[in-house]
């Protein structure tokens, strides 16, 4: 049909989703996703004002599809939504206003992705920005302004409530008063074996202890969430469709197993256990005593490798005969992972209560620990807190907990390709994704997707994302958020490829259209060249 855009036309040659299907063998992605989207959109949006190129074309396609009396659509009414992440530092560090240098850029960016056909934008809302100075004062004006921009464009908004910090993200890592509390009791922060503290992350062990100005972190989180629902109550019906609950560092349910101060997003070493603050150690001790092995609770394992060492360099994670396989290893890892699940359980339970009556899809993020996936002990997963006894799927307990709360699991790694990773780290993104999907399928948790990083160098990552989100598998992402707007995002190196990606996702395929599609494309290309010159005027 409207394959009239030159880039689209160019894409037609390369993209498999653009090719004409063989008779009787329709490409899987096309049928399942394309129809679902069209049908869903058409029915859902009928009363809504359709806007944007993608919507426009998608609807047109829907009309076409309807007219062809496709029978397969009816059962699969779930809609897929595409979000684009807003800059992480959209709001001034004190939360009072939109970052003034960026406001116009954010506005233009929101509009651009809107016209492109994205369904919504994702906004990271930081605890540290909303309550910078005092536990009693909330400063929502900045985030409100950004949300209003999205609302004005008729976009959906996925809000990520972030409790823990992002080192290097140009955002304060924790509220000042939390940092002050940590200064008087450093043990409320995650601590590694050498005693280094994670200044961006409050230990899960103190969730229910009154360490933050007389109240527990959990109740502070709850106050933060409740204040959010109050401040944005009017947007829940119209704009805010998703709330993602931050469960740990980088917004993910995990231990900060990376070196303190480094970025969780870029660290690809094995990592270390983070159980050396006194509260964690006390819990470990108690747990060991209850299990009848008091000696196992005196400290963490002594023979683990350092952050960047090979898992083979010390005994604990060795493939053969490593202590992880011993009863002690299982004891420790089960406790360590169980603590993580318990933390997630607590926070999600609280969040479910807070957002239970709101028409939003609740989700939470897990880490995509694809490094050292080849090692039997899955060391990177284990130190991040993903472990299940007897070499079973480490994501399984987490998926079970997510399913219990009806929370969607956001998997951030839909773009990670095998070829991007160094073999030496034993990375296996494909297997990990299968593993996560298996866990979710078994326990009935929904998934959603994100990309790990901006697709700058390997445009093949875009096709990977596409195949991951346009899959016919039962476990299919309900939404995907592309991270994230910024200078690189809009740079000529990235934007054209992204545009093409979005169009191929939101518009589905054109192949079923009229015979003169090629000609139309040719026309478009011709006219586009002319238009091009016009622009130079």
């Amino acid at each position: 049909m409207e394959a009239l855009l030159s880039t689209q036309h160019a894409a037609a040659a390369s993209s498999p989703t653009m090719t004409r299907p063989l008779p009787g063998a329709a490409p899987a992605g096309r049928v399942a996703f394309g129809r679902a989207r069209r049908a869903g959109r058409a029915s859902r949006d009928a009363p809504r004002v359709a806007t944007g190129l993608g919507r426009l074309l998608g609807q047109a396609a829907a009309a076409v599809a309807d007219s062809k009396q496709s029978t397969r659509d009816a059962e699969d009414a779930s809609t897929f939504r595409l979000f684009v992440g807003l800059p992480i530092d959209s709001v001034a560090p004190d939360g009072s206003s939109v970052s003034s240098a960026k406001a116009k850029g954010i506005e233009a960016g929101i509009r651009a992705v809107k016209l492109l056909g994205a369904d919504g934008v994702e906004l990271q809302v930081f605890w540290s920005v909303v309550q910078p100075e005092s536990p009693d004062r909330f400063s929502w004006a900045g985030y409100r302004a950004v949300a209003d921009m999205a609302a004005a464009e008729g976009l959906s908004l996925r809000v990520s409530l972030r409790i823990h910090g992002t080192p290097g993200g140009n955002v304060p890592i924790l509220p000042g008063w939390v940092t002050a509390a940590a200064a008087s009791d450093p043990d409320i922060l995650f601590t590694d074996r050498s005693g280094s503290r994670h200044e961006d992350c409050v230990s899960f062990a103190v969730d229910e202890l009154p360490v933050l100005a007389g109240r527990s972190p959990l109740s502070r989180y709850e106050a933060f969430f409740r204040s959010f629902t109050d401040a944005f109550h009017d947007l829940f019906e119209s704009t805010i469709t998703d709330v993602t609950v931050g469960l740990g560092p980088n917004g993910e349910l995990r231990y900060p197993s990376y070196p303190p101060g480094s970025s969780a997003a870029t660290f690809t070493g094995v990592g270390e256990f983070q159980c050396y603050d006194k509260y964690m150690l006390a819990q470990l001790k108690q747990h060991a005593e209850e299990s009848g092995h008091p000696l196992w609770g005196l400290s963490g394992p002594h023979d683990t490798p350092g952050y960047n060492e090979s898992p083979d360099s010390k005994d604990f994670f060795r493939d053969h005969g490593g202590s992880w396989e011993s009863p002690y290893g299982d004891f420790f890892l089960s406790w360590y992972a169980g603590n993580l699940v318990n933390h997630g359980d607590r926070v999600l339970g609280m969040a479910s209560a807070v957002f239970g009556d709101k028409p939003v899809e609740l989700s939470a993020k897990v880490p995509f620990m694809h490094w050292w996936h080849g090692a039997k002990s899955r060391p990177a997963e284990a130190v991040a807190g993903f472990y299940k006894s007897n070499k079973k799927n480490g994501y399984s307990p987490v998926a079970k907990m997510f399913a219990r709360h009806g929370v969607t699991m956001v998997v951030p790694g839909m773009d990670v390709c095998m070829n991007k990773q160094h073999r030496s780290t034993g990375s296996s993104p494909d297997q990990l994704l299968v593993q996560i999907k298996n866990a979710c399928r078994r326990h009935g948790a929904r998934i959603a997707g994100e990309n790990a990083s901006l697709v700058m160098t390997h445009t093949s990552s875009f096709s990977r994302i596409r195949s991951n989100i346009l899959t016919t598998e039962r476990v299919r992402p309900s939404h995907f958020t592309y991270q994230r707007m910024g200078a690189d995002f809009f740079s000529p190196k990235h934007w054209p490829a992204f545009t093409e990606f979005v169009r191929s996702v939101v518009c589905g395929e054109w192949d079923e259209d009229d015979a003169d599609a090629d000609m139309a494309a040719a026309n478009a290309a011709g006219r586009r060249d002319n238009a091009w010159e016009t622009q130079l005027v």
Binding site: L4, S100, I106, A108, L115, G486, Q535
Partner: protein, 823 residues
């Protein structure tokens, strides 16, 4: 278009236009809507005024006039048009080495593109550092030259027909064969458009003797002020020839010819006016187009119904000379006016269309759109009904035109599939809008995001102050440069400076930097000869000792200016090359680095950059270092110097400096590591990390035994103050952007010295901004250095106040800086 890639008309001292900075073709959206991103919704903004219908077009140049009672004019408007004319040509530079009748050589710089050309130029003298320009000597200035500031002149090019009858613009600069000028630097300026033509974003540099590659003292330099400014590079200069041999030490003017493509573009203003007259008898509308563009003009047009902006082809008959363009538009050739002033056409249209949309086409590559909104022109053909107006108002209040267009298109699609092809124009508009928005977002996000920065200094607990060392002194030092470029002239500077010792001490200075003391070829002292002869143009060794004593009595330490990089010889070797030294350190050519052909050294290769005016000392050899250590220790003891200011430390490895400092045990030492900051297209980069990294690397090589002048901070202050670009004052991590932000205790901050300012003015601090500069460096960590000329000027009182504030608050070289972002 290859020519365009380098000849982007860069406008110095102004941000490059957004599109200029966008590589690739993705964002070349030039036809931008008017301010406020307003996209006129054609035919939507309707108002009733005085009974007649006025179709107000947002941003249109002229208020449309209607004459409902006269002749049924429905619409009449004159639209401005803007088109870009590009002229391609070349510029050239030719050095004629053969002297003419008067014994003068000449350089001819010319260009064959029409315009009012001005040569903006300066020179570099032999053996000079840096890429700063100097003003050419008056005897070489062609008539009609105008002085621009103190470093350049502008000379108009004179147009004359060449042998083929084309107009060429040229200027001749005549100079003597033995001119001290090494390089002519220039850019071309076109007066009428104000456009500047640079060479790969930098200056054109024409060497008068030989090529720059072996003669350029800065060939080894990694970063120059104008990256890539050297006219070398085979691909870019296919026609450049540099013949001429070159003796090792005798300078000769070489023939040179270089040709450079030039692309000049200018905007031309035209108009098209459209008048629609209702003809009630025939129920048709008479549409008239009129434009002042001469040559072939085609209107590419269609009609639409119901305000949808959906292009349709009107029913026949079509006007004469009309072609149907791909079933979606008509292309009608306008008729030339008989008087040759433009083109016009008029034709009748059925009245059942609501509007006419068009763009103008001049040739395959030139389409003219609505300047106002960057899209199509829209001409309403009939009076809108009131109900329409009401409806439209609701919509426009809700959203802007584009969204409405899309909505209409969706309706159109679902109801009339057959018309899809006609919607392509609109879809392209959407895509263009997307690209434009992306370009806008890109330009905003990629620029630094600091809004306003106010620095305040946090005062350390004195307990954290570290013990004194030669890199920092006590940590609370405030330095005064005790001389300027003219100080040697009196012959008794030491006496004069000594008389000011008490005053300097009372102002709060703790260290004074005294001029280079040795016997020197140049009067300023930076071309040392006999190192142990401390009688110089500044005074005798006795006066120097006296000066040091006076300062010590006043409680002020004294730095000696030690020139270790190079040393002038006293004797010639058997080849007549000056490389045999005299005096107590009577080295021969073995002490001279091997990689400077001028001085035929037999030492090792230099461990740093070469200073080309004198033999560079080979510090890698033990005997050289031992002699220099001995000399430094002798000066410490004999003169009483407390420390060193080390000249041109770029010339040798910092590790040797460490050696010297450990031997001479100074109280304080600071090195001059001066190279150019990073610039892109003449615009100083925000991120100067590479520049400060080089300085920090040097300090590191000295193991922190010496500080270094914070050239980075000076450069950034220039831009920040001169252009109020205060966002430059915070780096990406919110720290100060100079050496100050990375290694404050070793940063010796300054805003001016004898080279940058004084009577040399190689890199003068923005005029009138000196106090702001001092406010910055005196309230920040690092060790501030104040220039003599400023201390003894009207600024003295203010400087004294700042120093007293600094001392009162106990700000020291390691104080912490907090960036307060102020709303």
């Amino acid at each position: 278009m290859s020519a365009a890639s380098w000849s982007i008309p860069a406008i110095p001292r102004a941000a490059p236009p957004a599109r200029g900075g966008l590589p690739g073709d993705a964002f070349l959206v030039a036809a931008r809507p008017g301010p406020g991103r307003r996209r006129a919704a054609p035919g939507r903004r309707l108002r009733l005024r005085g009974g007649g219908v006025v179709v107000a077009r947002a941003g249109a140049a002229e208020v449309p006039v209607t004459h409902p009672e006269e002749s049924g004019v429905v619409f009449s408007e004159k639209f401005p048009l803007r088109r870009c004319k590009t002229v391609q040509g070349k510029a050239w530079a030719r050095v004629v080495a053969e002297p003419d009748g008067e014994g003068m050589c000449k350089i001819v710089i010319g260009c064959d593109v029409e315009g009012k050309w001005v040569l903006h130029w300066g020179v570099s003298y032999d053996g000079e550092q840096g890429r700063e320009w100097d003003q050419p000597p008056s005897e070489v200035r062609p008539p009609g030259s105008v002085t621009i500031k103190d470093y350049a002149i502008e000379t108009p090019l004179v147009g004359s027909p060449n042998s083929e009858g084309h107009m060429v613009h040229e200027v001749e600069i005549k100079f003597n064969q033995d001119t001290p000028i090494a390089i002519i630097n220039f850019v071309l300026k076109e007066e009428e458009t104000g456009a500047w033509f640079q060479h790969k974003g930098g200056d054109f540099r024409i060497p008068l003797s030989g090529s720059l590659e072996d003669g350029d003292p800065f060939g080894a330099q990694q970063d120059t002020v104008h990256p890539g400014a050297k006219p070398e590079g085979s691909s870019a200069q296919p026609q450049e020839t540099v013949p001429g041999d070159k003796g090792p030490s005798v300078k000769r003017i070489s023939e040179f010819y270089g040709e450079y493509p030039i692309l000049k573009s200018e905007y031309v203003q035209n108009f098209v006016s459209v008048t629609v007259t209702e003809n009630s008898e025939t129920d048709k509308s008479l549409v008239e187009f009129d434009t002042d563009i001469t040559g072939q003009v085609i209107i590419h047009w269609g009609v639409c119904k119901d305000n949808t902006m959906t292009w349709e082809i009107p029913s026949e008959p079509h006007p004469p000379k009309t072609k149907i363009f791909r079933q979606k538009a008509l292309q009608t050739l306008l008729q030339q006016k008989t008087d040759g002033t433009g083109n016009t056409i008029s034709f009748l249209l059925n009245a059942d269309y609501s509007g006419l949309v068009f763009v103008l086409k001049l040739d395959e590559y030139t389409w003219l759109r609505n300047v106002d909104n960057g899209f199509d022109f829209y001409i309403p053909l009939k009076e809108p009904h009131k109900s329409d107006e009401q409806k439209v108002d609701d919509k426009s209040a809700q959203t802007d035109g584009l969204i409405g267009d899309i909505r209409n298109l969706v309706v159109g699609l679902s109801s009339r599939r057959g018309q899809r092809a006609k919607n392509k124009v609109l879809q392209e508009d959407i895509l263009q809008e997307i690209e434009r928005l992306a370009a806008e977002a890109y330009s905003i996000f990629r620029s630094p995001t600091i809004d306003a920065v106010e620095d305040s200094v946090y005062i350390d607990d004195p307990a954290t102050v570290k013990p004194a060392c030669s890199g920092t002194g006590s940590g609370f030092e405030i330095l005064c440069q005790g001389f300027n470029w003219e100080s040697h002239k009196s012959g008794k500077w030491y006496v004069e400076l000594g008389a000011k010792a008490k005053e300097l001490a009372s102002l709060g200075f703790t260290i004074v930097w005294s001029p280079p003391p040795t016997d020197s070829v140049s009067p300023e002292g930076y071309m040392p000869r006999d190192l142990y002869n401390l009688n110089s143009r500044y005074g005798t060794i006795e006066e120097l000792k006296q000066l040091v004593n006076i300062f010590h009595e006043a409680g002020v330490k004294v730095l000696g200016d030690a020139v270790l990089n190079h040393r002038c010889a006293q004797f010639q070797n058997q080849n007549g090359v000056w490389n045999i030294f005299g005096g107590r350190i009577n080295w021969d050519d073995r002490a001279v680095v091997a990689d400077d052909p001028h001085f035929q050294g037999r030492g090792n290769k230099s461990s740093g950059d070469n200073f080309h005016a004198a033999p560079n000392i080979d510090h890698s050899q033990d005997f050289v270092r031992n002699d220099l250590k001995e000399w430094l220790c002798w000066m410490r003891k004999e003169v009483g110097y407390d420390g060193w200011r080390l000249d041109f430390v770029r010339g040798f490895w910092g590790g040797y400096v460490k050696d010297y400092l450990e031997a001479s045990e100074p109280y304080f030492a600071v090195g001059e590591y001066w190279d150019s900051l990073s610039y892109t297209y003449g615009e100083m980069d925000y991120n100067q990390d590479a520049h400060r990294q080089r300085i920090v690397d040097w300090i590191n090589a000295t193991s922190g035994t010496a500080g270094a002048f914070d050239v980075t901070t000076k450069g950034i202050l220039h831009m920040a103050l001169e252009r109020s670009e205060y966002w430059r004052l915070s780096d990406e991590k919110g720290k100060p952007p100079g050496v100050l932000g990375w290694w404050p205790s070793r940063a010796v901050t300054f805003i001016e010295n004898h080279d940058t300012g004084s009577t040399q003015g190689h890199w003068r601090f923005p005029y009138g901004m000196e106090m702001q500069g001092y406010v910055y460096i005196l309230t920040h960590p690092g060790t501030p250095a104040v220039f003599y000329d400023h201390v003894f000027s009207h600024l003295q009182q203010d400087i004294a106040k700042l120093i007293s504030v600094r001392r009162r608050l106990k700000i020291h070289c390691r104080s912490k800086v907090y960036n307060m972002h102020r709303k």
